[in-house]
Amino acid sequence: MNYLEIAFWIATPLMSLSILLAVYRLVRGPTSADRAIALDLLANFGIGVIALISIVYQHAVFLDVAIVLALVAYLATVTFAYYIEKRLGQ
């Protein structure tokens, strides 16, 4: 058992648990801004999981997916904020 294998056994449950906690906040709310930050957090965790998977399978190509996911997550958060702000007048 080398160092990386031990690190996988530690990192995978921690990441899964943090994703579950973020999903709890996404479901619970209470405002739509809370849901937006939970979604942003989930996308960020997705980037971390992709980095972990790229190490497990030793495929560096997955890191390109992480870049695209980071871009899309940022745009999604800004768009959510735009619509939350626009909703004020109604």
């Binding site: 990192a11 942003d40 190490i55």
Partner: protein, 136 residues
């Protein structure tokens, strides 16, 4: 071998900080405090996890892409948090009852979404909004 050890340490640190962010987003009492957990702890944890991949592969192209991802995360996380926090504040999302100071209180004009820095500014901004409304 040593690169593997560094990657393993970075992975454990990164996933630990991701767990802290997850706990923070559930346990902290209001939106703005939760946002601090998602912005700081999550970005730090994810950055360390991607850096683990960068050290593990040890290839120049791969490491450059990984470091670029981390830089992009560190650039965009504060911007996203600011935009979302501003939208939530203008939407009057309540602050935690234990909040001691709210320095933005009364400084945002809730109609024009403009930020004032002094008392005169606030009056001027509200006059502007009144003028626009009477013209329309």
């Amino acid at each position: 071998m040593s690169a593997e050890l560094v990657a393993a340490i970075f992975l454990v640190i990164g996933s630990f900080f991701m767990l802290i962010a997850g706990i923070g987003v559930v346990r902290l009492p209001d939106l703005y405090l939760r946002m601090s957990a998602t912005t700081k702890a999550a970005t730090f944890g994810v950055g360390f996890t991607v850096l683990a991949a960068a050290t593990f592969f040890g290839d120049l192209g791969v490491s450059t892409r990984a470091v670029a991802t981390v830089l992009f995360l560190f650039l965009t996380a504060p911007v996203a948090a600011h935009v979302l926090g501003r939208a939530a504040y203008l939407n009057e999302v309540p602050l935690w009852e234990g909040t001691i100071t709210d320095e933005l209180k009364g400084k945002y004009n809730l109609k024009s979404h403009k930020l004032a820095s002094s008392e005169e500014d606030i009056d001027r901004l509200s006059d502007e909004v009144d003028g626009e409304n009477s013209n329309a």
